[in-house]
């Protein structure tokens, strides 16, 4: 069994080892550093460009969080409709699944063309990649309701609204959060796609500039910043989950706590 102290130590050790190997490969000239910058160069670029990275991380974060919030609202509403209305389920579910086969990367420039360089097309992209795991999980949660528990509450005089409030909703919340955690990691990627399609700010915009200047180290620093954003959003959703559904211990929680309950 893994000890609690090693919850961050093991992945950190692995990361350091990989970094050392990477540094070695670049230092010995096996791969030229204008193709693959070394970790030390990336770190240097991150330190030099820290203001640039920070100021461009803000719009990207806003897009990711805004799109995620939008996806939560739409995703949960769709889930309720799908779970409770057989005609809606028949009509909407195939479209929901179909929406995921739309190549978002190709759709982004089209949306930018229609909606301009504003935040709007980016929110739509993030929402499109994020609502699916939320909807699918929440539908599963709403359907996982214990029928016997529903029967018992009916004998106590519960109507449909009380049943939803007392049983279905709390039963579905852990599922909803599972979906939201996946969506949180997707949201940063969605924001990046949106920015690539047309923007004047954000990490996606910054990456395009760096690419044009062959600034490989800066590019990697931006990627690292994006990764940190994704991890932070995952952590926030998991934290919210722990606060809002304290009776439930989730997989995300286990990651934050080191995976050894």
């Amino acid at each position: 069994m893994i000890r609690r102290t090693s919850r961050y130590a093991l992945p950190a050790l692995l990361l350091v080892l990989a970094g050392l190997l990477w540094q070695h490969v670049v230092d010995t000239g096996t791969i030229p550093d204008f193709v693959l910058p070394s970790p030390a160069e990336i770190w240097h670029a991150a330190v030099v460009d820290r203001d640039l990275l920070l100021s461009n991380a803000v719009p990207t974060l806003l897009i990711a969080v805004g799109g995620l919030a939008l996806a939560l609202g739409i995703g949960v509403s769709l889930a309720v409709a799908i779970a409770y209305s057989p005609p809606l389920r028949a009509a909407v579910y195939p479209l929901v699944v179909g929406s995921q086969t739309v190549p978002v990367l190709a759709l982004a420039p089209v949306l930018a063309l229609i909606l301009g360089y504003s935040i709007l097309p980016k929110l739509v992209i993030v929402c499109l990649v994020c609502f699916f795991p939320i909807t699918v999980n929440t539908v599963d949660g709403l359907r996982s309701v214990d029928e016997e528990m529903v029967s018992l509450l009916r004998t106590m005089g519960a109507g449909p609204i009380a049943l939803f409030r007392e049983v279905s909703l709390p039963a579905a919340l852990p599922y909803l959060f599972s979906g939201a955690r996946v969506a949180a990691t997707f949201s940063v990627i969605g924001a990046l796609f949106g920015e690539w399609a047309g923007s004047y700010s954000g990490l996606g915009y910054l990456m395009q500039q760096q690419q044009a200047q062959f600034d490989a180290a800066g590019l990697f620093a931006a990627i690292a910043a994006l990764t940190l954003l994704g991890i932070a959003l995952f952590g926030v959703v998991t934290l919210l989950e722990r606060i809002l559904i304290p009776w439930h211990r989730s997989a995300g929680d286990a990651v934050l706590r080191g995976g050894n309950e």
């Binding site: 016997e148 528990m149 009916r154 007392e166 039963a171 559904i245």
Partner: protein, 270 residues
């Protein structure tokens, strides 16, 4: 096998039974492959008494409770409460299902008060009344705990407290102690008798444990295997309060147990 009691003149009659299942039959499934669950079941439960239904698995005991609770409609027959036919008995009785069904997302206190809250009682009043009952139900100190930390016995006591706090006079208990180990179960049986005496509730309980049925009840019905029919009725003439050891070792108890076991054996092979 014991002769079927004459339906027109029940073996033991209560002046006005608080709860009565009258000639109830119920089948499930589609035409062609219908499964007959209950056939012409008549059970009466007098006010303030404890009545048990024993029967093998598949004798439709839970189905009968669900019909009495109003969750299922009988094909034929009727449910009478206080002598009046209850066309929709839902909410007239308090059901305690076999599984405790405590909601994992509610604290113990919120779980046991759910029935009161659904009846429109304010959170404050519901909590006040429930909290006063916690010591008697051995749940003190666990008010704000989640059910996952409770032991099996505590879960059952919490489920029973929830059932009692619904405020109904009639409790329908489906194998209330079935999930417990033998020792806990014995303790809980005596405790259950004390609770019944204290709250003056009328109880109909389903069990497959003959000892439990005879020890707890004023009246025991024996059901056959599928389709469930009443194949035996026994009055248990032991005064209350009953001591467990004295009761279950008395010659009369043993003789009655032998008879019930014989009925069960014959009933499950027919």
């Amino acid at each position: 096998m014991r002769a079927m009691p004459d339906r027109a003149v029940p073996a033991i009659s209560h002046a006005v039974p608080l709860l009565e299942a009258r000639s109830i039959s119920k089948s499930f499934g589609e035409r062609g492959q219908r499964v007959e669950a209950l056939r012409d079941i008549t059970v009466t439960v007098g006010t303030g008494s404890i009545v048990s239904i024993v029967g093998p698995s598949g004798s439709g005991k839970s189905t009968l409770l669900n019909i009495l609770a109003g969750l299922l409609r009988p094909d034929t027959g009727a449910v009478l409460i206080g002598g009046e036919p209850a066309t929709n008995p839902i909410g007239r009785t308090a059901l305690m299902p076999q599984r405790d069904l405590l909601m994992p997302w509610k604290t113990v206190l919120d779980n046991v008060t759910v029935g009161m809250r659904l009846r429109g009682i304010s959170r404050k009043d519901a909590r006040a009344e429930a909290l006063g009952r916690f010591p008697r139900f051995g749940l003190q100190g666990f008010e704000s705990a989640y059910p996952r930390v409770l032991s099996g016995g505590m879960r059952q006591r919490a489920a029973l407290l929830r059932t009692i706090l619904t405020g109904r006079d009639i409790l329908l208990l489906d194998e209330p102690l079935g999930a417990l180990d033998a020792i806990t179960r014995m303790d809980m049986q005596s405790w259950l008798l004390g609770i019944q005496a204290q709250f003056g509730k009328t109880m109909l309980l389903v069990t497959h444990d003959v000892d439990e049925a005879l020890y707890l009840s004023d009246h025991v019905y024996v059901l056959s295997g599928r389709p469930g029919r009443v194949i035996g009725e026994h009055r248990v003439p032991v005064e209350r309060p009953r001591s467990y050891d004295d009761t279950v070792t008395s010659p009369r108890f043993v003789a009655q147990k032998r008879q019930v076991l014989q009925e069960l054996r014959e009933g499950s092979t027919t």
